[in-house]
Amino acid sequence: MIDKFVPDVAAGLAGIADGSVVLMAGFGNGMAETLLEGLIAQGAKDLTLVVNSGGRDDGPTAALLASGRVRKLVCSFVRADSVAGRLFATGKLELEIVPQGTLAERIRAAGAGVTAFYTPTGADTILAEGRETRVIDGRNCLLEYPIHGDVALVDAWEADRWGNLTHRESARNYNPIMAMAAKLTVVQTRHAVALGDIPPANVHTPGVFVHRVVHVPA
């Protein structure tokens, strides 16, 4: 019997190595905060963190960054006045700023086996400096590569033992695509449901993308 549920957060995060690329979903909500706290406790360092934004001074992203265990941050948005902004300004954090749609598409590309793609986004900006561009149908386009994760930390509303997931409202955001893009996808779910409880037409993230599930009730 396939059963992706693991007993606790520590079991969910077991084996995450130093130097891992960590994909962390969330945008205002839909962040797997319990797993993120677990990752701080777990101790892996020299991490590359891929997340929508560098966050503010409070909250779990700030806590992970403040722990000093993130070498590089890949995101679309960093406030100067935030942990990430200050770490970057003082040379303690590498930063790769990626337009948000390109970030989402690069993550999806990793999950979908697309080995590179062209997009007009950012092609005529300083983000394109020194990089490969090509004019396609009269538009200047920038070559972008997938972002593969070693681990993805995913939030769900419901999960079954095959790892099928649903997400609440806008808490869906990066969760389905980050689940696709990592070697190890770990989910924290509010509700553990029986196989078949999620209607097959309304699974938001299929279990094929999910490796471990931790039940974290409210």
Binding site: F27, V78, A89, A104, I107, P120, E169, S170, A171, R172
Partner: protein, 215 residues
């Protein structure tokens, strides 16, 4: 005669007047966010939010907040009847794939060739706030900008011959709504569509670095 610049809500309201029923619209952070407040519910305009919300509605009553439902500014919102949720890549497929009738962004500067600068004040700006602006700017069918005509401190014009700040996108802006005028970006540069009452052409030109044309 004197003139009265629009306040930020006034700019938003002015933009809202020009959005017809049926358009599918993304509103950036800042002045643009306020536009939806000025579109009556019975005029069906569908608002998109980058975090996967189609059909974003107004803020909820304080006792009816849904913690799982925010917009791209992470403000609590509601969903209109007929709305839908998608994931982040699908949401940006909408933005980048030409499916938005309109995107309204704030900006630091707009140039007469349609260039927009709205994310950094210099190349090594410690603020790195790209967000989804570059995607929206290249992807929407129309890009309008909402901003004050001049900077607050020194009164420098944000209506430029060319942008001095790092670009968000080249040649993308179709129209600019400021606190004192509405400008179209045409082949010849800025064309004035509208001005606040009491403002003269000469006064508007004085407040604009780029040459203005009149429709």
């Amino acid at each position: 005669m004197t003139f009265k610049p629009l306040d930020r809500a006034g700019i938003a309201a002015r933009i809202a007047r020009d959005i017809p029923e049926g358009w599918f619209v993304n509103l950036g952070i800042g002045i643009p966010t306020g536009v939806s407040d000025h579109v009556p519910m019975e005029r069906e305009v569908i608002f998109h939010s980058e975090n996967g919300v189609i059909g974003a509605g107004p803020a909820p009553e304080p006792d009816k907040i849904n913690p799982y439902l925010v917009n791209a500014g992470t403000q609590h919102i509601t969903l209109r009847t007929g709305g839908a949720f998608v994931h982040h890549a699908d949401s940006f497929a909408i933005a980048r794939g030409g499916h938005l009738d309109l995107c309204v962004l704030g900006a630091f500067e707009v140039a007469q060739n349609g260039d927009i600068a709205n994310w950094a004040r210099k190349a090594d700006d410690p603020t790195k706030q790209v967000g989804g602006a570059m995607d929206l700017a290249i992807g929407a069918k129309r890009l309008w900008v909402a901003m004050e005509h001049n900077t607050k401190g020194s009164g420098e014009s944000r209506i430029r011959r060319s942008c001095s700040y790092p670009l968000t996108a080249k040649g993308a802006v179709k129209r600019v709504y400021t606190d004192i005028a509405v400008l179209e970006v045409g082949q010849r540069g800025f064309i004035v569509l509208d001005m606040v009452e009491g403002l003269t052409r000469r006064e508007l030109q004085e407040r604009s670095e780029a040459d203005l044309h009149w429709a």
